[in-house]
């Protein structure tokens, strides 16, 4: 099989679409006005920001006034969690053990500041149990933050049901939806969520721009003080080019959704089937309730970083939850929370599909992977010992 470059790390980031870049370019060049200025160049920029806000609102089933532009997922999560906590002053926050650090670390920091924190466990498939949410709700609980879909293993959480539970008790719900936007449809009204985070670079938009959806009438305290931009919730001159790019990327992604999810899912299942046909491979995450583009498996007896380096030498870009790739010497907290042992977490491989991936890419990965796995296993000090 001919060697090729295969990018299967769309969970980390996605390539910027040509149409998105084209939409952005005028606002990085000749249309440089500040949206707050009252002259023509300023009004031109304001119009572009307003249009992007409308597109974003339409794509999410929200109203334009509920859309706040931020610098990305991390900032949106921080504004929602810290902003709600600061207004409340005290009380309990509920989250899960598989959240992204941009939620988990924020919650743990709030705990240090005096808030009570419940970190819900997940099952082997990384699913949060609805009953455990219900049980955790106490009269002090004012906020729940649980992700819509996990970034590592793709498990899709029952956010709609969690919101229903919370609504009865007037508890706010935030969800980090960065991984799901562009892969499956989202309707904030149907979800009944109070805050929702998204990030443009996960759906072929630019980096450094994101959205926090805030349901109408829900107050939040801003993290930054400054001008009146984004209705004072996120002051600072707008990233006009980024905002235009986000609006266009979201419009395109959501417009193509019918059919795209099925197409991604077919590729995903083809890849999973091929991987599970290999010896000593297990699927991480839920077999059905998972992102259409997410594949995560563990290879017994080998370590993820060696696998990634070997794949990279063959032109395949992927990621792993191995301690050796984490930068902290600890394996992925998500895989550990799911109850995997160290060796299983060590041997994990995440392949995230996206726009542009083809069946030929999947077949190429399935072609180059077995010899790599075989080579590393033969080299492994653990292989023979356990057999």
């Amino acid at each position: 099989m001919e060697s090729r470059q295969v990018y299967m790390d769309h969970g980390a980031t996605t390539p910027l679409r040509e149409e998105v870049l084209e939409a952005m370019l005028p606002y990085l060049k000749e249309k440089y006005g500040n949206p707050s200025s009252i002259h023509s160049p300023g009004r031109e920029a304001r119009k572009a920001v307003d249009e992007a806000r409308e597109k974003t609102a339409t794509a999410l089933g929200a109203e334009p006034a509920e859309i706040f532009f931020t610098s990305g997922g991390t900032e949106s999560n921080n504004i929602a969690l810290c902003g709600a906590a600061r207004l409340k002053g005290k009380g309990r926050i509920i989250t899960s053990g598989i959240e992204h650090h941009a939620v988990l670390d924020v919650c743990q920091d709030l705990e240090k500041q005096g808030f009570a924190l419940t970190i819900l466990p997940v099952d082997r498939q990384a699913m949060v149990d609805l009953r455990s949410v219900e049980k955790a709700l106490d009269p002090d609980t004012f906020l729940i933050s649980i992700m819509m879909a996990n970034n590592e293993v793709g498990t899709i959480q029952p956010i709609r049901e969690i919101c229903t539970l919370a609504r009865e008790k007037s508890i706010l719900v935030h969800t980090d939806a960065v991984q799901i936007v562009g892969q499956l449809p989202i309707d904030v009204k149907e979800l009944q969520v109070d805050f929702l985070t998204l990030s443009a670079h996960k759906f072929n938009g630019p980096k450094g721009i994101g959205v926090l959806y805030v349901r109408k009438g829900i107050p939040l305290s801003p993290l930054f003080r400054g001008g009146g931009q984004e209705r004072k919730l996120r002051p600072g001159t707008e990233n006009v080019g980024g905002i235009v790019g986000l609006g266009r990327a979201l419009e395109l992604a959501v417009g193509e959704l019918p059919g795209k999810a099925e197409q991604l899912q077919a590729l995903r299942d083809r890849l999973i089937k091929g991987l599970l046909a290999m010896e000593d491979v297990t699927l991480n995450g839920h077999p059905q309730k998972r992102l259409p583009g997410n594949v995560n498996v563990s290879f017994k007896y080998i370590e993820g970083e060696s696998l990634l380096l070997s794949l990279d030498l063959q032109g395949v870009a992927a990621s792993s939850g191995s301690a050796c790739t984490s930068g902290s010497l600890d394996p992925s907290h998500v895989l550990m929370a799911m109850g995997l042992d160290h060796q299983e977490a060590h041997g994990s491989l995440r392949l995230t599909l996206g726009r542009g991936n083809t069946a030929a890419d999947v077949d190429y990965v399935l072609h180059v992977l077995p010899p790599i796995v075989d080579r590393l296993r033969k080299m492994s000090a653990l292989y023979k010992k356990e057999r």
Binding site: E303, S306, L313, A323, A381, L382
Partner: protein, 125 residues
């Protein structure tokens, strides 16, 4: 992240495998990150005549195991005992700081192999 020399030893590791009739076997592992290394040696005239390794670990763990075996092959045992993990990292042209302590453990496995050989010898004589 890794330099060319490390990538060379990772992609084409020297002396991989096991010696079934080894004179000494040494193992070590990082409790912290889970890497495990095994060194097999054969000794002749107090020198390492044959050496092989098996490693479960990252690129740095595999490359440092490979480099160590290359460095000590043919060496007298007392000399080999003086080779440190740092020497291995230096010969590789350096490793990322985080990897220095978690994955660069091949010399420790070698010490264990030499000690195992000496123990077996003492028991035999």
């Amino acid at each position: 992240m890794y330099n060319e020399k490390v990538m060379d030893h990772f992609s084409n590791p020297r002396n991989v495998g096991e010696i079934t009739d080894a004179h000494g076997i040494g193992e070590t592992g990082s409790f912290k990150c889970g890497d495990t290394m095994k060194i097999f040696i054969k000794v002749r005239d107090d020198k390492i005549s044959e050496i092989k390794f098996q490693t479960f670990g990252c690129g740095a763990a595999i490359a440092s195991s490979s480099m160590l075996t290359e460095m000590v092959k043919g060496m007298r045992l007392d000399e080999a005992l003086r080779v440190t993990n740092q020497d291995v990292a230096d010969r590789l042209g350096g490793l990322p700081p985080l990897k220095l302590h978690c994955s660069n453990l091949a010399a420790d496995a070698l010490y264990n192999a030499i000690n195992d050989y000496r123990r077996r010898n003492a028991a035999a004589s």
